[in-house]
């Protein structure tokens, strides 16, 4: 039981990311409104970003900006003192991708709206079926 609890608490971030991902995925699949789907898509993407950031965390480490002095005698930098910067870099890219996708998705959604005058998927499909 205790071990189970430790599992729950020790990986809290991971559980949350899974939850968020499920929320996002659910919204993308099951929601009827196109903008809601887009919101879901962004939540889905942010969840993955959260996951990546969580992998980079190190207990007892600080942000990855190296403290340095311009004296020659600076002490050696220890990797364990700084949080892993690599996931951050990757996720910067991922955020950019998500905002780019968002822009395109919204543009397309606006086009859809102007053709069918609704954002509800079922209403659109109904219009397609009975023109």
């Amino acid at each position: 039981m205790e071990e189970f609890l430790r599992l729950i608490i020790g990986k809290y971030n991971y559980w949350i990311y899974i939850t968020l991902m499920m929320i996002g995925l659910y919204a993308m699949i099951a929601k009827n409104n196109l903008v809601k789907k887009i919101v879901g898509m962004n939540i889905f993407q942010t969840a993955i970003i959260l996951f990546y950031i969580s992998t980079g965390v190190k207990k007892g480490a600080t942000i990855p900006i190296i403290e340095h002095s311009h004296d020659a005698a600076h002490q050696a930098v220890r990797a364990a003192d700084y949080i892993n910067p690599l996931p951050h870099v990757l996720m910067l890219t991922a955020i950019v991708v998500s905002v780019a996708t968002l822009g395109v998705a919204l543009a397309v959604a606006i086009k859809v709206y102007h053709r069918y005058l609704t954002l509800e998927e079922d209403e659109i499909l109904k219009q397609i079926r009975e023109p």
């Binding site: 789907k37 993407q45 990546y52 991708v97 780019a100 996708t101 397309v108 053709r115």
Partner: protein, 499 residues
């Protein structure tokens, strides 16, 4: 200079796309020549790269001068050199055909169109050439975003289909990204070869298993593998002609390449076929994909839409062939990437011509086409024969290897599915030919359309016919050179573990 080829391959079209975009504002007439120059250059580079790889084995290139796994590196071996050549050839040929469509349908948006076109090809080339799992994701997104926009340009339902594609594509890409993340969390690396080096001790890990599964699902989503194909037919049908003849041949094929690359280079054949033992199940999925794709195609009354279902079936060919896990199956799958890209290009270009002349490609517009558009229909016949698998068109040879793989692997379900889909293709295409040939029906011995020429030939312009026929002849040439392609390229790409 030749040592910079891997970088130049991607950089040249990338740089050109910025100039094209600017030219769209400043001097719209320059857009098309710039695009042709860019893709032509990258075509030459990719062919050069192919010959280098054939001559001297794999090439690698460190971007920014950093050694992998710290920096990103490009890794060109026999497998991706071949796919690179295919991507650049298809991109280039289709570009030359696109001009007429653009002039007719959206002349005022030529600048952004060519920009996105070139970026799309850049993205695909980058995906194929890269040796870094995360870099692949970024390029995948470039290809995807440009693809979404290009598809959404179409008329009618295109925006809705594109939106659907955006959702599915994003899920697919994110699953892939998640898979990369899972690999990262257990190995700490993003470089494909480095991951492969670190993975064997971790084969028992649940994380690796899930990474594999989720990555495959993501890739399958992107390639439209059967139960995950729902977005594909609409997106490809409603896209403008030059876009569907670009996206349909390339996107799925490149994703198949990505799948092969991931399994072979990252997870290794040993793991995917040995430890997990999923092959049987995946091949059966492929069987379902082939059968379902073929049957669904039968129900369609629009040539373009029918072709999209054929694409779904063809994806089944490649996935199934690869997952047979033996040498002929692998050869067949890789060969089919090449052949199918060319075949679908040929068919979609031909349909593009029909759409250009008739406004749509539904059955109503088919009757009498053999008379009014003989050249287009001739090329369509060549493409169809290739899909059916008639020698000496190239489609026969990949089917041959796939069949051989199925027999060698003892997988008779796959064999039956391949034959079934070939037969269905016969029905599908001859239905079209019949309509183009017979209708309007003549009375027996009463020549309604005699030699005196009651119907006139109204062909598509030469700018569209020439690329079409180059592709059609290419199908036959590639077929005759199959021995060379397999012997000098694909044979070296087959993992040593396969037999």
């Amino acid at each position: 200079m030749s040592e910079h080829y891997p970088a130049l391959l991607v950089i040249l079209p990338l740089l050109a796309s910025f100039f094209i975009s600017a030219a769209g504002w400043l001097r719209p007439a320059c857009c098309f020549p710039l695009a042709v120059a860019a893709l032509g250059a990258s075509l030459l580079v990719s062919l050069g790269l192919l010959s280098i790889v054939i001559g001297g084995g794999p090439v690698s290139y460190r971007l920014g001068g950093w050694a992998p796994p710290w920096g990103i590196c490009y890794q060109v071996d026999h497998l991706n050199a071949l796919v690179l050549a295919v991507v650049s050839v298809v991109g280039f040929i289709n570009l030359t055909a696109a001009r007429t469509h653009v002039k007719k349908d959206f002349p005022e948006r030529a600048g952004p169109f060519y920009t996105l076109y070139v970026l799309f090809v850049t993205g695909l080339l980058g995906m194929v050439v890269t040796g870094d799992a995360f870099n692949l994701y970024v390029l995948l997104e470039i290809a995807a975003i440009t693809g979404y926009a290009l598809i959404a340009m179409g008329k009618g339902r295109a925006p809705l289909s594109s939106l659907n594609y955006i959702f599915m594509g994003t899920i697919g890409a994110c699953f892939y990204l998640l898979g990369v993340g899972y690999l990262y969390i257990v190995t700490g690396s993003l470089n494909m070869e480095d991951i492969a080096r670190l993975l064997p001790p971790l084969h028992g890990s649940k994380v690796v298993t899930v990474a594999f599964v989720i990555m495959m699902v993501g890739i399958w989503l992107k390639m439209g593998f059967f139960p995950l194909h729902a977005w594909l037919p609409n997106a490809y049908t409603y896209a403008p002609s030059p876009v569907s003849s670009l996206v349909a041949p390339l996107m799925t094929k490149v994703m198949v390449y990505v799948m092969i690359r991931m399994v072979v280079t990252v997870f290794t054949v040993d793991y995917a076929f040995g430890v997990l033992g999923l092959n049987e199940a995946v091949v059966w999925l492929a069987v379902i994909a082939i059968v379902a794709g073929s049957v669904l195609a039968l129900a369609e009354k629009d040539v373009k839409r029918m072709l999209t279902f054929i694409v779904v079936a063809e994806v089944g060919y490649m996935v199934g062939g690869f997952w047979l896990g033996n040498r002929p199956g692998f050869t067949g799958a890789v060969l089919h990437i090449v052949n199918d890209a060319l075949m679908t290009l040929c068919l979609f270009l031909a349909v593009g011509n029909i759409v250009y002349a008739k406004g749509n490609s539904r059955w109503e517009s088919l009757p009498g086409l053999f008379r009014t558009m003989p050249w287009t229909m001739g090329a369509l016949v060549v493409g169809a024969l290739s899909i059916i698998g008639v020698p000496p068109t190239c489609g026969f040879f990949s089917k041959w290897y796939l069949l051989l793989g199925a027999i060698q692997g003892g997988h008779y379900g796959f064999l039956a599915a391949l034959l079934f889909s070939s037969l269905v293709s016969v029905v599908l295409f001859f239905r079209i030919f019949e309509m183009g040939y017979f209708e309007p029906l003549g009375a027996p011995h009463g020549p309604t359309h005699g030699q005196d020429g009651t119907t006139t030939v109204r062909e598509a312009p030469l700018g569209m016919l020439a690329p079409l026929w180059i592709t059609a002849l290419g199908l036959i040439l590639v077929g005759l050179y199959t021995g060379q392609i397999v012997g000098r390229v694909i044979r070296h790409a087959v993992p040593a573990m396969m037999f």
